[in-house]
Symmetry: C2
Subunit: 247 residues, 2 copies
């Protein structure tokens, strides 16, 4: 029973300060993960870009749809995500979690129609061997565009499907999708929440909630969006926050 | 016309001093590569482990056949190879080569029969987009064994085949396979050189010449083994040193 958990970039970093982690939030998340995992863990982690990748991607004008052929820009953006990945791994190792890195730039690619190929044998084998693979938002090679951004949300959708995951969770800064400050418990179609999400924008896959909800609706498994206070409940098998189920 | 070039670990590092590069040799190799590449380069580089990966793999008792489930050991071995990879990338960037990293741990995996799956869409797309992908010896997840070593030689054989490379070269510390201090110009079968290579040892894929020759004989393209003095000739389309052709 594989669980795919995304640690939101805005949870684990200080979104307004370039390349700064939120050490307290990351420690809390790592504590809960270390406490919750079984032996073997059967858990894949993915973290967002937060103030690491976004800052550098903006600097170089790179997005999901606008690419770069500049190796220096690739090194800046990819390198900043590796730095954040290393912080996440370190905090997990401090707590005995057998986490090891998987960098999407080394694995995936998009063709000229922007279709993503993302092989997952490496992740599946790591899981079977008892490791906790830790992926992240990154760049991927993109035919005709050099390299473009792959968001952490896109990575969890790929993994959730390819690994036939039983549970998918997004640790967010908010306790779920909100309407009038109340958590919407369940979303089965985008129309139900278009009013509060301000409409869908296909390019908005690495930022706003609309893109997240739309991506998660494409999964074959229910996905939960919740905040740090509910991480233990999610990892214990409950469905805190908003459950997104587009099946 | 794709070229796959391996920079031998013992060429670019001080083999007897742990985690020390041979900066002079690496600079010379980077100079020749920068001088030789076309626009677009159509070149894939792979570097060996030298005193980075080997030192750490030995420390943790990890080899191509003996694995580890210890995340700390994985971080040591894989981390040391990323450090060496960064040195190689830096020297190439200094000379304007659009090099970007591909880490085998993030891409490949071995099944329970030790068969390697190594997806190469990411490398092919990087090449088409004008980047120079730089891979290296590393660890890969291995069913039943945790993670095991993948040598740089194994990576070039995978890439040479999957990318349908036209030229494969191994930059070595010696000018070719030697018999009585003379370079053997051509090898078409292992038997021809078993006397000088001291017999084949299947586990010797990351060190001695016997393993290299055996692996290169499995390629569908001739491969050259040569020293730094001949790198420019190899990149100019010649066949310096020893040509291994098992077709």
């Amino acid at each position: 029973m594989t669980t795919v958990l995304k640690l939101g970039g805005s949870v684990i970093t200080e979104k307004d300060r370039a390349e700064t982690i939120d050490g307290q939030a990351l420690d809390r998340a790592a504590d809960v993960v270390a406490e919750a995992i079984d032996e073997p863990p059967d858990l894949v982690l993915v973290h967002g870009a937060g103030s690491f990748g976004h800052h550098n991607a903006e600097k170089h004008g790179v997005s999901v749809t606008t690419g770069t052929h500049d190796a220096g820009a690739v090194m800046d953006i990819h390198g900043s995500m590796k730095t954040l990945n290393r912080f996440v791994l370190d905090r997990l190792h401090d707590r005995g979690v057998p986490a090891i890195p998987v960098h999407p730039l080394s694995a995936g690619a998009r063709d000229a129609e922007a279709r993503l190929t993302f092989p997952t044998d490496q992740v599946a084998t790591m899981l079977e061997e008892g490791f906790v693979p830790v992926l992240h938002g990154d760049l991927v090679a993109h035919a005709g565009k050099g390299t473009t951004v792959i968001s952490g949300d896109e990575v969890i959708v790929e993994l959730g499907t390819a690994l036939d995951a039983e549970r998918v969770g997004l640790l967010s800064t908010v306790p779920g999708v909100l309407r009038d400050d109340e958590v919407i418990p369940r979303i089965e179609a985008f129309d139900e929440v278009a009013d509060v999400l301000g409409g869908s924008d296909a390019t908005d896959v690495s930022g706003g909630m609309a893109g997240k909800v739309e991506q998660l609706l494409s999964l074959d498994v229910p996905a939960s969006i919740f905040a740090l206070d509910d991480l233990d409940r999610f990892l214990a098998g409950e469905f805190p926050g908003t459950t997104i189920d587009g099946r």
